[in-house]
Amino acid sequence: MLELDAVTVRFGGLTALSGISFRIAQGEILGLVGPNGAGKTTLFNSISGLVKARGRISFNGREVTSLPLHKRARAGIGRTFQIPQPMHHLTVRENLAVAQVFGAGRYDEKRIDEILAVMELSHKADADAATALALQELKRLEIAKALATEPKLLLLDEVLAGLESNAKRSFMLKLKELHALFGLTIVIVEHDIETISGLCTRAVVLNFGQLIADGTPAEVFNNPAVVESYTGTAHA
């Protein structure tokens, strides 16, 4: 459903992504792996339209490379930010309402309640998003907001970071639940090998802006190039 073909991003003289090509099939949960600065967030940014990329990005058979941000969201690409970015000065419910009205093009109160319930935010529905939520709640709000746009593809940027292992495990279950419940395709940035192995059907590894491995988690993590590039972070 998502096809990247030689996607390249440069910031001034710096090449952040160079010639990234891969495909994601409907219903996949893809792990996006790589050390810090490898270009994972830049890849998300170029898919969701936050940065301009060269090459070709198509989504559901439609080229979106030069489509503006909001149109990609409406086409069904939802994303979260690594550092949660709630819409300031809005309540949690208003955050979802805006996402739904503009992202999905309709207003359905029941569905918002449903998303709030799934993301365990119902009790904070009318609290101010930017000030009254704890970090983990903000992260759940990030996902809830993305879900409210009724995406087909969900890009999750380190949503599991900072959780202790029990919480992580239950959050993984939550993601699987979402995957099934909303019929999603998911790309998730994650450092933890176990999480990737437990959650994803496939993993893609970036290093220095280049794609160095693509395969099942097991294949990828046994790839010597990956081990070399990744040692520091993965086995610390």
Binding site: S48, L50, P68, L69, H70, K71, A73, R74, G78, R79, F81, Q85, P86, M87, H88, H89, L90, R93, E94, N95, A97, V98, A99, V101, F102, G103, A104, Y107, E109, D128, T131, K145, A146, A148, T149
Partner: protein
Amino acid sequence: MPVTSNASAQAAPAAASQRGRGALIGAGLLALALLPLVAGASPYMLGLLISALILAGLALSWALLGNLGGMVSFGHAAFFGVGAYGSALLAGKLGVPVLLAIPLGGLIATVFSLAMLPALRLSGPYFALAILAYAQIFRILATELDWLTGGAAGLQRYPGLPTVLGFNLADRAGSYVLVLACVVVFALVYMALRRSHVGTALRAIADSEDATRVVGVNATVLKTWMLLLSAFIAGVFGALNAHIIGFLEPDYAFSGIWSVMPIIAAVFGGYRSVLGPIFGAVVIYLFDQVIAKSLIPVGHQILLGIVLAIMVLLAPNGLSGLVARFLPRLAGRGLSNAEKGHA
């Protein structure tokens, strides 16, 4: 006071009581606004109030752009002047009925604001001063195109406000009611807009543009609409003022006063709220004309400057922010909505 359907959709169970309180506040304010008529205020007092309400409309237009559009303008005189000239020329040269010419004046201001669309990409001070440049350009054009505008000598033979159903809008009481009605209508439009999803999204854009766009909000289009609407409102009040004053010249129609006073009024009243700029304009104008002027006959604007500076430093949310802080229970939704977010 009617509450829009959009608002009720969001506010769910609390809506009924909110609506009741809103209606009560609305009725109270309207009664207050009509008080000068009932109490038989002198033409002088009504004249002051009319000027204050013209300023209130302009401040509302400025605050709408600032609050919903996230854009601070230093050149609202541009819209005000274009609206004034547009309406005066339509009525004076083409014989368009004045009450039709006034909204058309607003429309012409809107059309002119299309020239400012490139400025939407600019941030903060750049936008503010780009608009100032437009105001200057329009002023010079109005001076130079004398075949159309009468040049520096200005326009003075164009019709004033008419008599409608035996009610003379040209006398002080009539003008007051008309201007007041316009302020009320635009305040209601603003309230409805702010409570709608578009308004919610716009509030979000102001502080978290990327986060808002990434959920599908086309920030540029929404901001464009706000610019056009703000231009329309400012243009209408410019047109009203032109027909009340009965004389236009470029230095007056595009005077810096029309850019400066709405900022002072809106910041003083609290530009994040709907009623703040209106109250701010009335209080500031009366303070300036009645009190400041008697204290310092020449240079009394120094007091305005001091008031503005103090407000920015000590109460950036203006009077309405203070009201919301100290009278949380009494403050209605109309005043306090924004402050909840800015606490």
